[in-house]
């Protein structure tokens, strides 16, 4: 009995609403369904947001209070976050990154943008500077790993450093050569010096050396011979026969003299004379006929060739990686700042020029203040970007210095997945990173709102 009445009841109501007035019901309907419609429009986005953003954040926060095995650990993860030396290095490096990278990138971008405004081929130049943005971090990391290679024949950075260095300081003839007997020829700061002073002219001073690669011996080197003469004299030779045979510290057949070695005669700690060895390794000081001297082979003979800077050593690895980051992002900053520059009204600049301001003053007091909103946006965007830097560091730092190059995002990955299997601590680091990014985010959101108003 109740069933027929129920459908009957709403019908008259809606019928009444529909028939009583023509204008009101659509309005009401529009108002009601307008709100409903709004909800419908928001729903897909909010479902996506909740599933992909909100849920992971909340879950990470919860997970950060549990240990690796999933047992409740309270704040233990956060304690180890600030006590673990590895994580502290990561925090320290992140601070360096955040201070240095955005500032330098923005500075470069500003310089490029201002300068390219004036040149003819500015689009070509901008395209070239922007190009690295088209390469992924991973690929850039691989490229820069090669740029920083220790071997100057492979690494561009060391090729430049070594090239410049060798212009000013020539490498020596016998790098790495050393005495056969370290007791006879003692190593000093100045080079190798005979342990005992020799009376001039009495006997030949034998100075056997080893560790000279066959390629280093000049072609005109001849069979070593025992020197003779009246003054202080002797022989410098390679006391190593190909094949390893021969008597130690004696001139054997087949052992060659080392030509062109500088030899110094030292008396009471001061060098009194110097000469060079002949093709058969002999040297002589005919003028030194009395007194006794120690003989010294100065270290300039044996200086190791300069093989550049170890860019990826623990001390230099972070600056080196930041440099790679600057290479990638300078174009990004340049493009944004250039577009900001183009919106600056020309008449303001001209007015300043007419008032007698020089170019620097125009830049400093007119362009810069007008540009500052853009600069802030670039900086903040870069700060957020730098805080999460991961791939460059992961790719570029060799395993042995990964600890020294560590950053929070990398540490988060390392403890969660890279062998640590401690997703609790990893989540704690993630939450910490989130907190660090928040101020920059809030600043950005505020700016957007201001701009909208």
């Amino acid at each position: 009995m109740s069933t027929p009445t129920q459908p009957a009841a709403p019908e008259p109501a809606s019928g009444a609403a529909g028939t009583s007035t023509v204008t009101r019901p659509p309005r009401r309907r529009r108002g009601r369904s307008g709100a409903g419609r709004g909800l419908w429009f928001v729903l897909p986005a909010s479902i996506l947001l909740a599933a992909l953003v909100l849920y992971p954040i909340i879950f990470s926060v919860i997970r950060s209070f549990f240990d690796a095995g999933g047992h409740f650990a309270g704040g233990a993860n956060y304690v180890s976050l600030f006590t673990d030396p590895e994580t502290l290095t990561a925090v320290k490096n992140n601070v360096i990154w955040v201070i240095v990278a955005p500032t330098v990138v923005t500075a470069f971008g500003l310089v490029f943008a201002v300068l390219t405004e004036r040149i003819r081929w500015s689009s070509a130049f901008k395209a070239a500077v922007f190009m690295p943005m088209a390469i992924s971090f991973l690929a850039s990391g691989v490229i820069f790993r090669l740029v920083y290679d220790q071997d100057p024949n492979k690494g561009l950075a060391n090729a430049i450093v070594v090239g410049v260095h060798d212009v000013f300081a020539k490498s020596s003839q016998y790098p790495g050569a050393r005495p056969r007997d370290p007791k006879q020829l003692v190593s000093t700061d100045d080079g190798y010096r005979t342990a005992q002073a020799r009376p001039a002219g009495a006997t030949a001073v034998q100075l056997p050396l080893v560790a000279v690669p066959p390629d280093d011996i000049p072609d005109d080197a001849a069979q070593a011979e025992t020197a003779s003469g009246s003054g202080l004299h002797g022989t410098v030779w390679l006391d190593f026969k190909p094949g390893g045979a021969g008597k130690s510290s004696a001139i054997d057949k087949g052992e060659r003299g080392l030509p062109g070695v500088e030899v110094q005669a030292v008396r009471d700690g001061t060098v009194v004379a110097s000469t060079k060895t002949a093709d058969n390794g002999t040297f002589a000081f005919p003028s030194l006929t009395s007194g006794s001297y120690t003989v010294q082979l100065p270290s300039s003979n044996f200086r190791e060739p300069f093989d550049g800077v170890t860019w990826l050593s623990s001390a230099l690895v972070t600056p080196s990686i930041i440099a790679a980051y600057i290479w990638i992002y300078a174009g990004f900053a340049m493009v944004l700042i250039a577009s900001g520059l183009s919106t600056i009204p020309r008449d303001t600049l001209e007015a300043a020029r007419i008032d007698g301001a020089n170019e620097w003053k125009v830049f400093r007091y007119v362009t810069m203040p007008l540009l500052s909103p853009v600069l802030v946006v670039v900086m903040v965007t870069l700060v957020i970007n730098v805080l999460k830097v991961f791939d460059l560091v992961y790719i570029m730092a060799p395993g042995s210095v990964q600890d020294s190059a560590n950053v929070l995002a990398l540490q988060m990955w390392r403890v969660s997945f890279g062998g640590g299997h401690n997703q609790g601590l990893g989540s704690a680091i993630g939450v910490f990173l989130f907190v660090l990014v928040l101020p920059a985010m809030i600043l950005n959101i505020r700016r957007f709102r201001q701009e909208q108003r």
Partner: protein, 465 residues
């Protein structure tokens, strides 16, 4: 109008839901495979008189047909897979059992886990780590080897291989191939120039020869790839196996003794003496920048600055692919030198074949893998070496790989698996931390033996729980 808006909304919502759940595309293709799979399944189930009771059933009785067939999973692809095909072909020719091989790459453990969870494991899989064997056996997911397999393993292998293929005294697997990580590679031209006619057998001779090489003008006689931590753990494992012996090695591998143990001190002291000698290994800071492939090419490239590099038999691959040197003439190897007169000991790795199903053909296959016949096919291309002691060494294609292989057989029960592979990855296999990092720090500062031991122990303690 009123109607059309909700309709577009619902379609939009449906699209959104699809993109969220990724259900549309997946569901469609899933349905497609389902529909193609069912006609394939129905004739076979119709042909067999008994209705299939469960999903896992076909895999277990797949070999029920005459001749039968088995599915095999392993990590090998490319040339290695081709070599393995020779083994399976020989098996099929002998027994008529068909073998379907699929390569799972380095994901094998994950793939096996998924297949087991889905109730359809392969009949046989080659597990690349001893730890996996134990893990699967403890969960009861692999089948124990039958009497034929046990007899074949006992007959053709040193007793250690029965132990290594067993968990709690029950034999499960056959070690089908074993790699040798106790090989030291050298540049023959550099040795000739220095007048070293015989490769060193003892550690003392090894150090003396390195000094001779230095005298002859080789600036860094021993090349160390310190940028990769695992090369250093391999150094340590070889030295420790020599100085402490296999029993202590097993204990340290399981962390039953501490890293602060005097036996570790002894091994690190040996390494310290070598690594702190800049005349022999160069500047450690530079060595820490050299990765493994570079450490090999440094020895065999033109105008090489180094003459010796220690790493497993796979170094030969780098020599052939990245340098002009020829393995066997320009590049040769000697077994890791014996320290204090110990017998040949080999550190290595390998793949163990285990059965996951009750398919009788799987046991037949395992028994076949333990025969010299299978080993012969396995080693015939030079991709693999075998621990099968009944194998005629002439089956190896060239003298170098033959020597690598015979060294494994010679080591007999003195063979041990790579210790860092047996440890939790956190300790033994993580770039930039654990044992890798601790030994890198030790290479940077070889005089601090006790400091290195303390760090190793602290990290091991964290990882072994």
């Amino acid at each position: 109008m009123r109607r059309s808006i909700p309709r577009t909304l619902t379609t939009f919502a449906a699209v959104a839901a699809c993109s969220v759940l990724a259900a549309c595309g997946g569901g469609g293709s899933g349905g497609g495979t389902g529909s193609t799979a069912s006609p394939n399944n129905s004739p076979s189930s119709a042909a067999s008189p008994s209705p299939s009771p469960s999903a896992s059933e076909p895999a277990e009785t797949g070999g029920g047909e005459s001749g039968g067939s088995i599915e095999v999973d392993a990590v090998w692809s490319g040339a290695e897979a081709k070599t393995f095909k020779k083994v399976t072909d020989a098996f099929t020719a002998k027994t008529g059992i068909k073998v379907t091989y699929s390569s799972q790459g380095d994901n094998l453990p994950t793939v096996l886990g998924t297949k087991l969870a889905g109730g359809k494991p392969p009949d046989v899989a080659m597990l690349p780590q001893p730890g996996l064997l134990e893990q699967f056996a403890k969960k009861g997911q692999i089948r124990k080897a039958d009497a034929d397999v046990a007899a074949a393993v006992k007959k053709n292998y040193s007793s250690i291989w029965t132990d290594l293929g067993s968990v709690d005294g029950t034999l499960y697997g056959v070690w089908i191939d074993v790699a040798n990580k106790s090989t030291v590679w050298y540049n023959t031209a550099a040795f000739d120039n220095a007048g070293i006619s015989k490769a060193p057998k003892t550690w003392k001779q090894f150090v003396a020869d390195a000094n001779t090489l230095s005298d002859s003008g080789v600036s860094v006689p021993i090349s160390i790839g310190g940028a990769d931590g695992w090369t250093l753990t391999d150094w340590f494992e070889n030295v420790y196996l020599q100085t402490a012996g296999p029993k202590m090695y097993d204990k340290l591998a399981k962390h039953e003794i501490k890293w602060t143990d005097p036996s570790v001190t002894k091994a690190l002291t040996v390494l310290s003496k070598l690594w702190s000698n800049e005349r022999l290994v160069g500047d450690p800071k530079k060595a820490l920048q050299v990765d493994f492939p570079t450490s090999v090419t440094n020895v065999f490239k033109a105008d090489a600055q180094s003459a010796i590099v220690y790493e497993g038999s796979f170094a030969a691959g780098v020599i052939s692919s990245s340098t002009k040197a020829k393995v066997g003439s320009d590049a040769k190897f000697f077994p890791f030198p014996s320290i204090g007169g110990t017998k040949t000991a080999v550190v290595g790795s390998g793949d163990v074949a285990v059965a996951f199903t009750k398919n009788p053909a799987a046991q037949k296959f395992l028994a076949f893998l333990a025969t010299p016949e299978a080993a012969e096919a396995m080693v015939s291309t030079g991709s693999f070496t075998s621990a099968n002691s009944s194998l005629d060494p002439s089956a190896y294609p060239d003298p170098t790989i033959r020597a690598v292989g015979t060294q494994i057989v010679d080591a007999g029960n003195n063979f041990r698996f790579d210790m860092s592979d047996q440890a939790p990855a956190e300790f033994g296999a993580t770039k930039g931390s654990g044992e890798w990092k601790d030994l890198q720090d030790f290479l940077a500062n070889p005089s601090d033996i006790s400091g290195a031991q303390k760090k190793l122990e602290a990290d091991a303690k964290k990882a072994f729980k």
